[in-house]
Subunit: 236 residues, 2 copies
DNA sequence: GAGTGCGTGTATACGTTGTATACTACCGTG
DNA sequence: CACGGTAGTATACAACGTATACACGCACTC
């Protein structure tokens, strides 16, 4: 591929990296970068290795196979959403922000969404968020059962809204991922252009549907979900 | 591969199929069968062709590429959930059954879930359900805005709950897909086995969390979501 | 009927992929 | 200063998606 020393030297130049050694995290980040720039289908062991100035087989010192690598990417993205401490005193708003941040993190990496459908992609970081959310609710006097229920509703709604967003996207390729408003406009036109005799309701509600699918009304509805659940649960 | 006539004869034996000709639908069904039996990763053009007693390149007369074939599978599964007319008079129960059937259909084909995260997988059949749901609500006197909102909440919750189910599944391979109770038990043990100092809340709520992730409490919570939304919307 | 054009499936081939296996160079320890 | 383990390399291979060119058989005209 290239003379071994030159490759090592080149990677060693990166600041803060001792002797240019690889690491799981470094590989994961490089993989995520490729997925963001070119889509999941373009994430290839060879391309990944090249971006790290390393031989393809070097990856296999850190991951048993490509699937194992991919399985860690969702958790990596989720962990990015948890960095800020974000102290909002009011519970409902804190929940809103927490789930909104999670959604935001996922939306910034649309390429990984197929991985949401593969088994066992959540590990420590995702669990840490579960723990945090449950703890916060309990500390506001919400019972364990009610807290779990609210968590379930909010999480499912959040993940589902992310999946819905992709489902009608007309932009097959990730490259110039349309911004929310642009996506909304495209979807709205898509709905409105359907045969009115076959889909009268969809055509009539095309604007509102586009607001939902594009995620424009996500926070508003999430707050509704939270409030409904909180109303049924005694708390301070 | 094999003598051409023998292959054609063999397929021609299938009843109702004129001259043993292929068709998009026939290919899709065969693809889904492979995904069900062996997982999405095992869906290969060559294997698919073999299961249809045909040369790999024959597939490309019906689909421009493999991705285009895969993109149709979600819609195929969804369409299976819509066959029954299921006339439940009461609106809230009708909605419950409709979304529950959708979830059921998706759960029967766990292999396609990664496809939920790829763009543009919904077409006619999914839209038909949207149309049906909106129409039913409107005919019960619910306004367009409220109907769309309820649709959004219920759909996102349903899809999200499907995604959640997969996310903690310990059974990496689809083959003997654990039944709900078995899955629940595995998940519960997984949650309960976490370090109690790091995840006290998760460990304490392990049973309830397993109920959520395994989907055991899906219908119950979906009904809650529906009722909350209906309460805010005037209807008959 | 005899040609004939087109649609359906075939044969062959190529570049790319994931990864098994065997190797080499280096670094910290004795 | 030997030397064993660790990190990365070199090479190889089977399987993949699919481009290209071809063969066959049915539905037409004349």
């Amino acid at each position: 591929m290239r003379s071994p020393e030159s490759a090592a030297r080149e990677r060693a130049k990166e600041p803060g990296r001792r002797a240019g050694q690889l690491s799981r995290l470094e590989i994961q980040r490089a993989a995520l970068r490729i997925v963001d720039l070119a889509g999941l289908a373009e994430l290839t062991v060879r391309r990944l290795a090249q971006s790290l100035h390393v031989t393809p087989m070097a990856i296999y010192r850190y991951f048993p196979n490509k699937a194992a690598l991919e399985a860690t990417l969702v958790d990596l993205v989720v962990s990015d959403s948890a960095v800020t401490a974000h102290d909002t005193p009011e519970l409902r708003l804190w929940l809103l922000h927490t789930f909104a941040r999670m959604r935001h993190a996922l939306c910034r990496h649309p390429g990984i969404m197929p991985l949401l459908g593969t088994a066992s992609h959540s590990s420590g970081n995702a669990l840490a968020i579960v723990e945090q959310v449950l703890g916060r609710m309990r500390s506001h006097g919400i019972g364990s059962g009610d807290a779990t229920r609210l968590f379930y509703r909010a999480t499912a709604f959040t993940l589902g809204s992310v999946v819905m967003m992709d489902s009608v996207s007309l932009a097959h390729f990730v490259k110039p991922r349309p911004v929310q408003d642009e996506l909304r406009r495209q979807q709205r036109h898509g709905f409105a252009a359907l045969p009115k005799t076959e889909f009268p309701q969809v055509v009539a509600a095309s604007a509102a549907l586009a607001d939902c699918y594009s995620g424009k009304r996500f926070e508003q509805e999430l707050l509704g979900v939270i409030d409904d659940a909180l109303q049924a649960a005694p708390h301070s």
